[in-house]
């Protein structure tokens, strides 16, 4: 089975801190995604990556950056955390080049910024 893991289930940070959220997948998927999930807003795409060292902005990239140095790892970085970045963060991965791109999700990281 595909496994997507995220470095933390719960994280509490202070305003202004630099925050790293790590995601690792073990099925050699080309595509990786970062979403945030907020009540009433569903999942919103922050950034995604089609390959190592490649990144594309999603719908809400402001305040975030990403890094993909290895195929299996996709990191989300909050350069200076703010309270409005308190949210559930979900990482996902999928194969590329196929018509049916089912995404596999990690368990999520609930980030609280104080």
């Amino acid at each position: 089975d595909v496994k997507v893991t995220q470095s933390s289930r719960y994280l509490v940070k202070r305003t202004g801190e630099k925050v790293f959220l790590e995601c690792v997948q073990d099925m050699d998927h080309e595509n990786m995604f970062w979403y945030r999930q907020d009540p009433g807003l569903g999942l919103r795409l922050i950034y995604f990556s089609y390959d190592v060292k490649m990144k594309e902005k999603g719908d809400i990239p402001e305040g975030y950056s990403v890094s993909r140095e290895k195929k299996e790892r996709f990191s989300l970085i909050l350069e200076s955390a703010s309270t409005n970045q308190t949210s559930m963060y979900l990482c996902a991965s999928s194969l590329s080049g196929v018509q049916y791109n089912e995404q596999f999700f990690g368990p999520g990281t609930r980030l609280t910024v104080l």
Partner: protein, 109 residues
């Protein structure tokens, strides 16, 4: 925003009843997918229906797709308490998925 919408936002039923959730999306699609999310967890893929299909079944799940109306529905038959979760549709836009806002389903024993 290209985000889809789901209806209803919340649904409460008794075990054994059927649950129907509806989804509308905005762009043309290759396929439409449904995902389930247990409280505080990641999403799990349930079923995918291609744009040239009108109906698909998987166990107690039945999905329909109407591309002319840009809408889909998910029917869960003979619901169980364990079906309690949030359900999201996701429309395929190249390699990205555009998720709906979700339906919270509560099934009472």
């Amino acid at each position: 925003s290209q985000q889809g919408e789901e209806d209803p936002q919340a649904l409460s039923i008794q075990e054994g009843e059927n649950a129907t959730m509806n989804c509308s999306y905005k762009t043309s699609i290759n396929n439409l997918q449904w995902y389930r999310q247990n409280s505080g967890r990641g999403l799990v893929h349930l079923i995918l229906i291609r744009s040239n299909e009108r109906e698909k079944h998987s166990g107690r799940l039945r999905v329909t797709l109407d591309t002319s109306k840009k809408s889909s529905s998910l029917l869960i038959t003979a619901s169980r308490a364990a079906d309690t979760a949030s359900y999201f549709c996701a429309s395929d836009n190249t390699d990205k998925l555009i998720f709906g806002t979700g339906t919270r389903l509560q099934v009472f024993p």
